[in-house]
Symmetry: C2
Subunit: 140 residues, 2 copies
Protein backbone atom coordinates (compact mmCIF):
# COMPACT_ATOMS: atom_id res chain seq x y z
CA UNK A 1 0.00 0.00 0.00
CA UNK A 2 2.61 2.53 1.14
CA UNK A 3 6.23 1.80 0.25
CA UNK A 4 8.88 1.13 2.87
CA UNK A 5 10.82 4.16 1.63
CA UNK A 6 7.87 6.47 2.28
CA UNK A 7 7.39 5.01 5.74
CA UNK A 8 11.09 5.40 6.52
CA UNK A 9 10.87 9.01 5.39
CA UNK A 10 7.82 9.78 7.53
CA UNK A 11 9.33 8.06 10.53
CA UNK A 12 12.61 9.94 10.16
CA UNK A 13 10.81 13.24 9.67
CA UNK A 14 8.82 12.57 12.82
CA UNK A 15 12.03 12.04 14.75
CA UNK A 16 13.40 15.31 13.41
CA UNK A 17 10.14 17.05 14.33
CA UNK A 18 10.51 15.65 17.85
CA UNK A 19 14.00 17.17 18.08
CA UNK A 20 13.71 20.59 16.45
CA UNK A 21 16.98 22.32 15.66
CA UNK A 22 19.12 19.36 16.70
CA UNK A 23 21.21 17.69 14.06
CA UNK A 24 20.46 13.98 13.90
CA UNK A 25 22.87 11.57 12.29
CA UNK A 26 21.70 8.94 9.81
CA UNK A 27 22.97 6.35 12.25
CA UNK A 28 20.63 7.64 14.94
CA UNK A 29 17.73 7.99 12.54
CA UNK A 30 18.30 4.42 11.40
CA UNK A 31 17.83 3.14 14.93
CA UNK A 32 14.79 5.35 15.48
CA UNK A 33 13.10 4.26 12.28
CA UNK A 34 14.25 0.67 12.03
CA UNK A 35 15.67 1.32 8.58
CA UNK A 36 19.09 0.19 7.31
CA UNK A 37 21.51 3.09 7.77
CA UNK A 38 22.87 3.31 4.23
CA UNK A 39 19.44 2.95 2.73
CA UNK A 40 17.96 5.60 4.96
CA UNK A 41 20.83 7.89 3.98
CA UNK A 42 19.60 7.84 0.41
CA UNK A 43 16.04 8.48 1.54
CA UNK A 44 17.27 11.48 3.53
CA UNK A 45 19.21 12.75 0.54
CA UNK A 46 16.04 12.72 -1.47
CA UNK A 47 14.23 14.66 1.25
CA UNK A 48 17.06 17.17 1.18
CA UNK A 49 16.75 17.66 -2.58
CA UNK A 50 13.10 18.50 -1.94
CA UNK A 51 14.03 21.03 0.71
CA UNK A 52 12.44 19.07 3.54
CA UNK A 53 15.64 18.63 5.54
CA UNK A 54 19.12 20.07 5.58
CA UNK A 55 22.10 17.76 5.86
CA UNK A 56 25.67 18.48 6.82
CA UNK A 57 28.81 16.38 6.53
CA UNK A 58 31.63 15.73 8.93
CA UNK A 59 32.00 16.34 12.63
CA UNK A 60 28.70 17.34 14.23
CA UNK A 61 26.97 16.56 10.98
CA UNK A 62 23.50 15.12 10.47
CA UNK A 63 20.06 16.27 9.42
CA UNK A 64 17.61 18.88 10.64
CA UNK A 65 14.04 19.52 9.62
CA UNK A 66 13.66 22.76 7.68
CA UNK A 67 10.77 25.16 8.18
CA UNK A 68 9.64 24.33 4.68
CA UNK A 69 9.82 20.62 5.47
CA UNK A 70 7.65 21.09 8.52
CA UNK A 71 4.98 22.73 6.40
CA UNK A 72 4.85 19.86 3.93
CA UNK A 73 1.85 17.54 4.15
CA UNK A 74 2.21 13.84 4.86
CA UNK A 75 0.58 13.20 1.50
CA UNK A 76 3.31 15.13 -0.28
CA UNK A 77 5.97 12.98 1.39
CA UNK A 78 4.24 9.76 0.40
CA UNK A 79 3.78 10.97 -3.16
CA UNK A 80 7.44 11.90 -3.30
CA UNK A 81 8.40 8.23 -2.98
CA UNK A 82 5.39 6.37 -4.31
CA UNK A 83 4.52 8.71 -7.16
CA UNK A 84 1.66 11.14 -7.40
CA UNK A 85 -1.71 9.47 -7.27
CA UNK A 86 -3.41 9.66 -10.61
CA UNK A 87 -6.93 11.09 -10.26
CA UNK A 88 -7.84 9.23 -13.44
CA UNK A 89 -6.61 5.83 -12.27
CA UNK A 90 -9.21 3.16 -13.04
CA UNK A 91 -9.20 -0.19 -11.25
CA UNK A 92 -10.67 -1.81 -14.35
CA UNK A 93 -8.16 -0.26 -16.72
CA UNK A 94 -10.72 1.84 -18.57
CA UNK A 95 -9.45 4.96 -20.25
CA UNK A 96 -11.10 7.23 -19.95
CA UNK A 97 -13.00 6.44 -16.76
CA UNK A 98 -15.20 9.08 -15.20
CA UNK A 99 -17.38 11.91 -16.40
CA UNK A 100 -19.92 10.47 -18.80
CA UNK A 101 -18.33 7.00 -18.80
CA UNK A 102 -17.55 5.93 -15.23
CA UNK A 103 -16.63 2.33 -14.54
CA UNK A 104 -18.62 0.39 -11.91
CA UNK A 105 -15.88 1.09 -9.38
CA UNK A 106 -15.34 4.73 -10.20
CA UNK A 107 -17.38 6.03 -7.29
CA UNK A 108 -15.89 3.64 -4.78
CA UNK A 109 -12.35 4.29 -5.81
CA UNK A 110 -12.82 8.05 -5.95
CA UNK A 111 -14.05 7.90 -2.39
CA UNK A 112 -10.93 6.06 -1.25
CA UNK A 113 -8.71 8.54 -3.06
CA UNK A 114 -10.61 11.50 -1.62
CA UNK A 115 -10.26 10.11 1.88
CA UNK A 116 -6.55 9.69 1.46
CA UNK A 117 -6.09 13.19 0.08
CA UNK A 118 -8.30 14.67 2.78
CA UNK A 119 -6.74 12.70 5.59
CA UNK A 120 -3.06 12.64 4.78
CA UNK A 121 -3.15 15.91 2.88
CA UNK A 122 -4.32 17.86 5.89
CA UNK A 123 -1.62 16.64 8.27
CA UNK A 124 1.60 18.59 8.22
CA UNK A 125 5.00 17.03 8.90
CA UNK A 126 5.53 19.35 11.87
CA UNK A 127 2.46 17.81 13.49
CA UNK A 128 4.19 14.42 13.59
CA UNK A 129 6.22 15.76 16.49
CA UNK A 130 3.13 16.39 18.59
CA UNK A 131 1.89 13.50 20.77
CA UNK A 132 -1.43 12.43 19.32
CA UNK A 133 -4.51 13.57 17.42
CA UNK A 134 -3.08 15.66 14.50
CA UNK A 135 -4.52 16.20 11.03
CA UNK A 136 -7.83 15.33 9.41
CA UNK A 137 -11.38 15.56 10.58
CA UNK A 138 -13.61 13.31 12.68
CA UNK A 139 -12.96 10.46 15.08
CA UNK A 140 -10.30 7.78 15.48
Amino acid sequence: MISRSAKYALSALRWLALHPGERQQARVLAVATGAPRDYLAKVMKRLEREGCVEGRKGWGGGFVLTARGGRRSVLEIVELFDGRMDPRECLLGLKPCGGTTPCPLHGSWSRVRATMIGSLGSTRVAALGEPARAGGRRRS
Copy 2:
Protein backbone atom coordinates in the same frame (compact mmCIF):
# COMPACT_ATOMS: atom_id res chain seq x y z
CA MET B 1 -1.49 1.39 -4.76
CA ILE B 2 -3.25 -1.55 -6.35
CA SER B 3 -1.10 -4.11 -8.17
CA ARG B 4 -1.33 -4.74 -11.87
CA SER B 5 -2.29 -8.35 -11.18
CA ALA B 6 -5.27 -7.30 -9.08
CA LYS B 7 -6.42 -4.86 -11.76
CA TYR B 8 -6.06 -7.50 -14.45
CA ALA B 9 -8.14 -9.84 -12.32
CA LEU B 10 -10.89 -7.30 -11.73
CA SER B 11 -10.95 -6.33 -15.37
CA ALA B 12 -11.15 -9.96 -16.50
CA LEU B 13 -13.86 -10.73 -13.95
CA ARG B 14 -15.83 -7.75 -15.22
CA TRP B 15 -15.62 -9.10 -18.75
CA LEU B 16 -16.85 -12.48 -17.56
CA ALA B 17 -19.68 -10.79 -15.64
CA LEU B 18 -20.62 -8.99 -18.85
CA HIS B 19 -20.84 -12.33 -20.67
CA PRO B 20 -22.51 -14.68 -18.19
CA GLY B 21 -22.33 -18.36 -19.06
CA GLU B 22 -20.15 -17.80 -22.12
CA ARG B 23 -16.70 -19.34 -22.05
CA GLN B 24 -14.06 -16.69 -22.70
CA GLN B 25 -10.57 -17.63 -23.80
CA ALA B 26 -7.50 -16.14 -22.16
CA ARG B 27 -6.65 -14.69 -25.55
CA VAL B 28 -9.91 -12.77 -25.62
CA LEU B 29 -9.60 -11.70 -22.00
CA ALA B 30 -6.10 -10.46 -22.70
CA VAL B 31 -7.39 -8.12 -25.37
CA ALA B 32 -10.27 -6.98 -23.17
CA THR B 33 -8.05 -6.25 -20.19
CA GLY B 34 -4.88 -5.09 -21.92
CA ALA B 35 -2.88 -7.76 -20.10
CA PRO B 36 -0.26 -10.07 -21.66
CA ARG B 37 -1.97 -13.35 -22.53
CA ASP B 38 0.36 -15.75 -20.74
CA TYR B 39 0.52 -13.57 -17.68
CA LEU B 40 -3.22 -13.22 -17.51
CA ALA B 41 -3.50 -16.99 -17.81
CA LYS B 42 -1.70 -17.35 -14.50
CA VAL B 43 -3.91 -14.72 -12.92
CA MET B 44 -6.97 -16.63 -14.10
CA LYS B 45 -5.55 -19.86 -12.74
CA ARG B 46 -5.28 -18.24 -9.36
CA LEU B 47 -8.87 -17.07 -9.55
CA GLU B 48 -9.86 -20.62 -10.40
CA ARG B 49 -8.08 -22.01 -7.37
CA GLU B 50 -10.16 -19.59 -5.31
CA GLY B 51 -13.35 -20.80 -6.94
CA CYS B 52 -14.06 -17.49 -8.65
CA VAL B 53 -13.96 -18.85 -12.18
CA GLU B 54 -14.04 -22.21 -13.88
CA GLY B 55 -11.61 -22.96 -16.66
CA ARG B 56 -11.68 -25.63 -19.33
CA LYS B 57 -9.00 -26.80 -21.74
CA GLY B 58 -9.12 -27.64 -25.43
CA TRP B 59 -11.70 -26.95 -28.08
CA GLY B 60 -14.37 -24.54 -26.85
CA GLY B 61 -12.32 -23.99 -23.73
CA GLY B 62 -11.97 -20.82 -21.72
CA PHE B 63 -13.21 -19.32 -18.47
CA VAL B 64 -16.63 -18.61 -16.98
CA LEU B 65 -17.54 -16.74 -13.83
CA THR B 66 -18.91 -19.03 -11.13
CA ALA B 67 -21.84 -18.16 -8.92
CA ARG B 68 -19.48 -18.10 -5.99
CA GLY B 69 -17.13 -15.79 -7.89
CA GLY B 70 -19.94 -13.38 -8.59
CA ARG B 71 -20.67 -13.13 -4.90
CA ARG B 72 -17.10 -12.25 -3.98
CA SER B 73 -16.40 -8.64 -3.06
CA VAL B 74 -13.97 -6.50 -5.02
CA LEU B 75 -11.95 -6.13 -1.83
CA GLU B 76 -11.52 -9.89 -1.59
CA ILE B 77 -10.13 -10.00 -5.12
CA VAL B 78 -7.67 -7.22 -4.42
CA GLU B 79 -6.55 -8.84 -1.19
CA LEU B 80 -6.09 -12.13 -3.02
CA PHE B 81 -3.28 -10.60 -5.06
CA ASP B 82 -1.99 -7.79 -2.87
CA GLY B 83 -2.31 -9.51 0.47
CA ARG B 84 -4.75 -8.83 3.28
CA MET B 85 -4.49 -5.32 4.61
CA ASP B 86 -3.09 -5.30 8.10
CA PRO B 87 -5.40 -3.39 10.48
CA ARG B 88 -2.38 -2.71 12.68
CA GLU B 89 -0.22 -1.21 9.94
CA CYS B 90 1.44 1.99 11.15
CA LEU B 91 2.81 4.54 8.69
CA LEU B 92 5.45 5.53 11.22
CA GLY B 93 6.51 1.98 11.96
CA LEU B 94 5.36 2.03 15.57
CA LYS B 95 4.49 -1.28 17.11
CA PRO B 96 2.14 -1.28 18.65
CA CYS B 97 0.18 1.66 17.24
CA GLY B 98 -3.38 2.27 18.38
CA GLY B 99 -5.37 1.85 21.54
CA THR B 100 -3.60 3.74 24.28
CA THR B 101 -0.59 4.59 22.12
CA PRO B 102 -1.75 5.82 18.70
CA CYS B 103 0.76 7.47 16.41
CA PRO B 104 -0.03 10.96 15.05
CA LEU B 105 -1.25 9.38 11.82
CA HIS B 106 -3.26 6.56 13.36
CA GLY B 107 -6.62 8.28 12.97
CA SER B 108 -5.96 9.43 9.44
CA TRP B 109 -4.74 6.08 8.24
CA SER B 110 -7.55 4.17 9.96
CA ARG B 111 -10.00 6.39 8.12
CA VAL B 112 -8.40 5.55 4.77
CA ARG B 113 -8.45 1.84 5.54
CA ALA B 114 -12.06 2.00 6.68
CA THR B 115 -13.08 3.76 3.50
CA MET B 116 -11.41 1.14 1.37
CA ILE B 117 -13.01 -1.71 3.26
CA GLY B 118 -16.39 -0.03 3.19
CA SER B 119 -16.19 0.98 -0.43
CA LEU B 120 -14.57 -1.98 -2.14
CA GLY B 121 -15.89 -4.47 0.37
CA SER B 122 -19.50 -3.68 -0.41
CA THR B 123 -19.21 -4.12 -4.18
CA ARG B 124 -19.68 -7.62 -5.48
CA VAL B 125 -17.93 -8.95 -8.57
CA ALA B 126 -21.27 -9.63 -10.25
CA ALA B 127 -22.01 -5.91 -10.04
CA LEU B 128 -19.03 -5.18 -12.30
CA GLY B 129 -21.16 -6.42 -15.18
CA GLU B 130 -23.80 -3.79 -14.59
CA PRO B 131 -23.34 -0.44 -16.36
CA ALA B 132 -22.67 2.08 -13.59
CA ARG B 133 -23.32 2.94 -9.93
CA ALA B 134 -22.56 -0.34 -8.03
CA GLY B 135 -21.37 -0.82 -4.48
CA GLY B 136 -20.78 1.54 -1.56
CA ARG B 137 -22.79 4.37 -0.09
CA ARG B 138 -23.10 8.04 -0.96
CA ARG B 139 -22.18 10.08 -3.99
CA SER B 140 -19.59 9.75 -6.78
